[in-house]
Symmetry: C2
Subunit: 436 residues, 2 copies
Amino acid sequence: MKITAMSAHDVRFPTSRLLDGSDAMHRSPDYSAAYVILSTEDDGVSGHGLTFTNGRGTEVCVAALRAFEPLVVGRALDDITGDMRGFWRSLVSDDQLRWLGPEKGVMHLAAAAVVNAVWDLWAKSVGLPLWQLLSQLPPEDVVAAIDFRYIEDALSPDEALDLLGAASSVKEQRARQILAEGYPAYTTSAGWLGYDDDKVAALVEQAVVDGFRHIKMKVGGDLDSDVRRAALIRSVLGSNGVLMMDANQVWGVQEAIAAMRVLREFDPWWIEEPTSPDDVLGHARIREAVAPIRVATGEHVQNRIVFKQLFQAGAIDVCQIDACRVGGVNEVLAIILMAAKFGIPVCPHAGGVGLCEYVQHLAVFDFVAVTGTVENRMVEWVDHLHEHFRDPAVVERGRYRVPTAPGYSIEMLPSSLEAYAFPDGPMWAAPEVLVG
Amino acid sequence: MKITAMSAHDVRFPTSRLLDGSDAMHRSPDYSAAYVILSTEDDGVSGHGLTFTNGRGTEVCVAALRAFEPLVVGRALDDITGDMRGFWRSLVSDDQLRWLGPEKGVMHLAAAAVVNAVWDLWAKSVGLPLWQLLSQLPPEDVVAAIDFRYIEDALSPDEALDLLGAASSVKEQRARQILAEGYPAYTTSAGWLGYDDDKVAALVEQAVVDGFRHIKMKVGGDLDSDVRRAALIRSVLGSNGVLMMDANQVWGVQEAIAAMRVLREFDPWWIEEPTSPDDVLGHARIREAVAPIRVATGEHVQNRIVFKQLFQAGAIDVCQIDACRVGGVNEVLAIILMAAKFGIPVCPHAGGVGLCEYVQHLAVFDFVAVTGTVENRMVEWVDHLHEHFRDPAVVERGRYRVPTAPGYSIEMLPSSLEAYAFPDGPMWAAPEVLVG
């Protein structure tokens, strides 16, 4: 099956109008996606992928998608899947494009969309949800998808094989278990920084009613307001609930330590993104200073090389992979295996648009084929924008229902791609007609 | 003076036709630039900036330039220069664009072009070369241009003030000295990986005749070939010459250590980019293993936060700032001052197109206003593409002549912008007419 064409789309949702998704760093995001469709000779089968963005600048990612087009279109799916490592490197290490990263920022975001579209296509072509395709692959084939360049000092191909091989005999049983039980979720829907106190209190109450024990709030605005909101949420949640805090990178190292000395009063389980995602040594220092509060990061960690160092330096307690910040499935596999070797639980970043749909597959693969446990593990859940997907993620009683439709669950409805196309779709060209 | 318009240009030079600039990672680069012109109410004064690229993907940087346009056009130069830190942060931390970095990759490359264009405009408006504008600014104004977010644990504003204040009384004398003597240079023109042995030998001979004692060669192809070429260059250069090696990131940590155990026979002064620029801890391990060979990196180090950690971890001996990899002059100032605090010499990365023109200003500022020494310090020199600039960099007898024309020396000739415009300029649309 040959990939015959690629289309790239700029899709934006006007979430800033209600301050959904607002935090200390991103005060009015319009959740968006640079979206790619790989068409094939078979009209019925296409591969879909997206990279999540925040509104302005999505067009830059679309330009990056177009730069990858000649590296994908014209290739046979079998050729690609027969050398997934080579395919991945052909994108992230093209000898001219590489200068623009390497392996970070816009180019890496766009590479992720393309790589994920290929995996979506592969999974659909064999009629399996992505997690199941990954779980059923022989360990050798999983390892053959990973580029070990720059991480061999932390994880060798042989070690990766051993980690995967250890689960071989129990994979089927684990798959049945997680299909029956679902994967644990936590919610961020309640605690956006732009919401007023009454809305936050009502949402926390509703979350508890909906079966969530774990709730994440945004911090890092001003400290007095963080304290007020933390007291409010903790009072509604009760002392049995688990409260996580997320500073979205607004602090320096010392600021983070000082702020958490105050906020520890509310018994946070973790502090997420206390400082720059680039600051491995800073995270290590913060972790030492704020223990036993756990340190989490990952949604902005650019690639496996920085994750490697976060593990090597003992800088984090929680690894929050993102499905399209690093270079798609191939690189996520490397990170999940490194996390397993270093004993760090993976709690994927989601929210955004499409991220819940994506990462549920990664968490289920981690359970089935790698770690076999959900202890200290859960996937973020934000309850919006799911209606735009053909196979939306579903959370019930605080757990993700394991997806069963073929593919990576990331295919958007054609009507949504059209309505929210930027700048010419009706939601942007004539929004007053469509919203109140 | 108000900035009234911004134009963005995709300019590419077909250097791959002769393998100029070829190394182990970039086998056939077309040296290129995403180029920006800021027009003002005053027809005679415009600000120019570029970010260096490698051919394909330059159009992605141009799209990023356009994304910054609304943050620059319409602003008064005085407003910007009165709050340089605020201006810089408005670009790199725009609350929607930030997601695409943050502070790395395409967006940061493009931000550098815009930021540098503003400094070029400022320098021209006061009739000074950039290095002189920077050197004459009161320490408080230099510090006010720096965003200390994420680096205060390594360098506080007060420490920066002290470093700059210490030089106040000697700046004028140092400026006279460097104007008279020029700034030391080394050459990379001889050792590109794609050149055959005869060409390399002839170029090294010529470089010595031209007054260079320091020569850099590319390594990291296959080790046998590296050994053959190193022996050749060392034999022509003689034991008094200084030979540097540059692996352009092709090795992992253990590979780098193993390769340098072999190549140490040729007495390299430094090994540059032995591994991924993202791998702070890896550089630290390599440095420990290959001492006394020095470890150098920087041309791909994405921002001040990674440089901070390279210093904190004792990972490098040589800091190779790039003028448009990090976010332009403002961020370079932060890095030069951190390097001074940690006692690490700055040897800027150049070559490319426009990079020699840019970084000569930074090295001269470092000498005049910060360190006052050229010991272990020199600026890279590659002798090509200078003819496209209005005020090209000039190297004589192994030293950069200090620039005296107003601005940042980065203004390209209108005829070059036209001829090499991609894809519609005559050099690309009909190259057979123009080259043999």
